[in-house]
């Protein structure tokens, strides 16, 4: 299990190198989230809660590993300023079977979205605005 909270960019290809190596791993799923340039967005700033962030992500990742019996699990989440096209975060899961690798990755994303202490502020043509949490994101937790 590898968890990193950082301001610097990261390279998903390099992070996946060697991830899930091992003769009992049949499936690796990765998700990478990027800043979209929708509606004139010029930049984004992500604030987080140092200390709690790492703990919250470790708890979420630990639950994913236990529940889907993952061979490995990776979470990287950036904070600070970012521009459209830049990568915000990634998760990866390694498992015996395809279904569990997919499910665990979606579980990680749903929980990171609503239970890890990050807040996005968008800077666009009309000024700056904190991104509001969406009811669907909270509802998504209900499926797990």
């Amino acid at each position: 299990m590898r968890i990193r909270v950082q301001e610097e960019p990261f390279d998903p290809g390099a992070e996946l190198d060697g991830f899930g190596a091992g003769a009992d791993v049949g499936a690796v799923v990765s998700f990478t989230g990027m800043v979209r340039g929708d509606g004139g967005l010029s930049r984004m700033e992500i604030e987080h809660y140092p200390g709690m962030t790492e703990k919250a992500i470790a708890a979420i990742a630990g639950e994913a590993v236990a529940r889907w019996n993952l061979a490995d699990c990776l979470v990287i989440h950036r904070h600070g300023p970012m521009r459209p096209g830049e990568r915000i975060m990634m998760v990866a899961t390694a498992s015996r079977h395809r279904a569990s690798a997919f499910e665990a990755a979606e579980f990680l994303m749903d929980y990171l979205k609503s239970r890890a202490p990050f807040w996005k502020k968008e800077y666009g043509a009309d000024g700056a605005e904190w991104v509001a949490a969406r009811d669907e994101d909270e509802d998504a937790l209900g499926r797990w």
């Binding site: 989230g33 992500i46 604030e47 987080h48 809660y49 200390g51 709690m52 703990k55 919250a56 989440h77 915000i88 975060m89 994303m109 990171l112 979205k113 609503s114 239970r115 890890a116 202490p117 990050f118 807040w119 996005k120 502020k121 904190w130 991104v131 509001a132 949490a133 994101d137 909270e138």
Partner: protein, 82 residues
């Protein structure tokens, strides 16, 4: 002595990221009432508790959570990670 932290627009409304408070409150809700009574900016930040989340010692908690033994309380809007 309790460290109180604010994030995102809660931080912006209150005007600082953290402060140390002397409190007699026994629950998070009691602490919120004390803070609201202080100054307008707190009253404004805490006007709608349904729009806020709270963590006690870096664990998500409810507003009726006890403060006994707590060292750090944080207030923030619903999270938007991922």
């Amino acid at each position: 002595m309790l460290d109180v932290l604010y994030f995102a627009w809660v931080r912006e409304r209150i005007g600082e990221p953290r402060e140390t408070v002397e409190t007699g409150a026994t629950t998070v809700a009691g602490l919120v009432d004390e803070l609201k009574a202080r100054e307008e900016r707190y009253a404004l930040a805490f006007s709608d508790l349904s729009a806020l989340r709270v963590a006690v010692d870096q664990e998500l908690a409810d507003f009726d959570a006890p403060l006994a033994g707590a060292r750090e309380v944080a207030f923030f809007p619903p999270m938007t990670g991922g």
